[in-house]
Symmetry: C2
Subunit: 271 residues, 2 copies
Amino acid sequence: MAMLINGQPGEQITALDRGLAYGDGIYRTIEIRHGQPRLWAWQYRRLAADASRLRLPVPDAALLLDEIGQLADGVVQGVAKVVLTRGVGARGYAMPADCQPTRMVSVSAWAGYPPERARDGVNVRWCDTRLSCQPLLAGIKHLNRLENVLARSEWSDPDMHEGLLLDQRGLLIEATMSNVYLVQGQRILTPRLDQNGVQGMLRDWLFAQAPQLGYQLEEADLGPAQLWQAEQVFLSNSLIGLWPVATLAGQALPQGHPCCLQLQALLAQQD
Amino acid sequence: MAMLINGQPGEQITALDRGLAYGDGIYRTIEIRHGQPRLWAWQYRRLAADASRLRLPVPDAALLLDEIGQLADGVVQGVAKVVLTRGVGARGYAMPADCQPTRMVSVSAWAGYPPERARDGVNVRWCDTRLSCQPLLAGIKHLNRLENVLARSEWSDPDMHEGLLLDQRGLLIEATMSNVYLVQGQRILTPRLDQNGVQGMLRDWLFAQAPQLGYQLEEADLGPAQLWQAEQVFLSNSLIGLWPVATLAGQALPQGHPCCLQLQALLAQQD
């Protein structure tokens, strides 16, 4: 793994950084292909939106792209991670008046998921962990991720690939590391993320791209029962791409709708 | 400031630590007096309880005490901070099977609050930020503190000393960095922390010590209106001690009940 911290090679930060003290920052995980970050415009747009929501200075797109490019040079397939924190401040929660953010850019080897998951579908379960509701943080890929850690700790079976999360209201929100979609004819429904959840870059991309395949992607309040009424359920995440869901809690879900396959084909064409 | 990381002098950690990536850890802030951590037994009990709740290995009390003692040697008054994270793991939320926690112990100069606040009382305001409800994390002093950061960012007036927080249900929970108490005769009421909030060490101490002064400390569901019916409102935190509240949102609150003064006197005798 190679890393730049505020542009300098290294992988150490001060333990006084607010990213550690309070989780006061954001991040993105980005696929690298042939030395370049995939879907960069979508990634950057989301990074910038999240930074603005937390009143973090938005780093320059060209600067980030240059730093990723330095580390990704010659990398055929890999994973970049960008972490942006509010840097070091005086003790206490108050945001420093003169914020000197910490910018961490790293590129590591492609950890890879078996490609048959995208083809054959994945097994998912319900998590007991229920997401809290906090509109001020909803959708942001921030560094306060203990709920995801607790949810992911509920299982260790390697044949169970993801866990679905309800929130305190009983609504379906997401899976531990991916967004979720329910296909019904030409409609695709995905949970509203105005109370909780992480707005993945591919979710934005799907909103923009689904119509050209004749699909209408819409936000909805979705309960767990609606998963069984869908013609297909699939997941998205910048590293996994799109995964159809084969089984939920050990029961087969409907398969065979072409939607996920069509979207996968469209996604495969993207740089 | 002096720091030990896993017992070694230094103040740098790897940017791959889960404390940074996910806020996957806990901390305590501890007053140092004459080279020793004050109310250590209470601090350690809470640290150990929080670690257990997050399934972090609980560090040995003697080890922590030794490390604090090394750094605090000769310090008349100072601030120690202990941060404990789940260390470095593979990518992803899953807890590493073989957890190698990161233990950071630091001692810095006494930042100090003006002593007249404890005597004359403080000015508090309402925060617009509402705490979310998450029983799995409630009470724990974990590293996911963005709600506190947002709440504390709501004001910058140095004469406003704390901000009170309601939760999504509209119940009073705490202030941004302190617990809150309402005195009514010989009863002291404090918010239940089973859905959110941070269980401060002094809150535990008050539960144990208040009876010897003839006070009964009880948890309750408290709404904002009850602050105006209390004979006294006060705050607790390991560095501020106990602060009576003089004004709320610019209006004077009832003063003159001896409770806070009596508890301050008892606290002053503690090592």
